[in-house]
Symmetry: C2
Subunit: 149 residues, 2 copies
């Protein structure tokens, strides 16, 4: 296996081509990592979630990291790591355009809402659950690719 650094453009393509990644946030030095369904557009990763630890922590400390990987062919892989900043898109005047954009991005995918929308022992997404739309502003992105030599 030979490993090389991905260019920023290659990292961006990897982010655009995928919609499942992993998000890490941190509070008082303790990281917390969860799967993330997202849509990439305009230097942001758009996502949503119901209220919970992840949102609480990102509201307190907006610094996050998102990692996306892709496998194959063979044993090859690509990985991109984003350092970014949490930005909430609240349901208030002034954010309608951004929320509509997030919704348009995310609703292109049939099952985008599942992990973010579900809490244990409850039924699927309901209008009564308080959803938080947010986006991650991509600050830095770096990546690597391993190719079978």
């Amino acid at each position: 296996m030979l490993v090389r650094t991905l260019s920023t453009l290659e990292c961006t393509k990897l982010l655009t081509a995928n919609r499942i990644g992993h998000l890490a946030c941190a509070r008082d030095g303790q990281p917390y990592i969860v799967p993330l369904y997202y849509a990439h557009a305009d230097n942001h990763l758009y996502a949503f979630s119901i209220l919970g630890r992840k949102i609480d922590w990102m509201r307190a400390n907006p610094l996050v990291s998102v990692q996306v990987d892709e496998h194959g062919p063979g044993r090859g892989w690509k990985s991109a790591i984003v350092e970014g900043r949490y930005e909430e898109l609240p349901d208030t005047v002034g954010h309608k355009v951004q929320r509509d954009h997030a919704w348009a991005m995310l609703s292109k995918h049939a099952d985008w809402w599942e992990p973010g929308a579900l809490k244990p022992d409850t039924f699927p997404v309901s209008d009564h659950l308080p959803h938080v739309f947010f986006r991650i502003l991509i600050g830095q992105v770096s990546g690597r690719e391993a190719v079978q030599s």
Copy 2:
């Protein structure tokens, strides 16, 4: 999809059955997330890496999070999240048993060393690279399962 909480035993089984996960560490409030090849034994996740940002950060702040997921059947999934503590297994007297144990755990798998062992534009694992063996002491583990209803 119906989502339920996994028991500690179910989380432990998920950790044992897999060997690829994602690790997050943090420095000065900035999380950093990378793929992790690990082996689970004795309430620890064993792994290794060459020197770099991940090791630097975990040496400075040993609080980490590891997440492991498993997909299928259908659109179902399981996910376990560990809150843990980084423990280095240095190559000094007193750690030989732990290092040998780590090696035994990890070397059961043919390609366990790949992402940890490679830096861009270098060739595969060499005795000349300074490898760091470490383990994550599992402090807390929690998990969820989504089942197609």
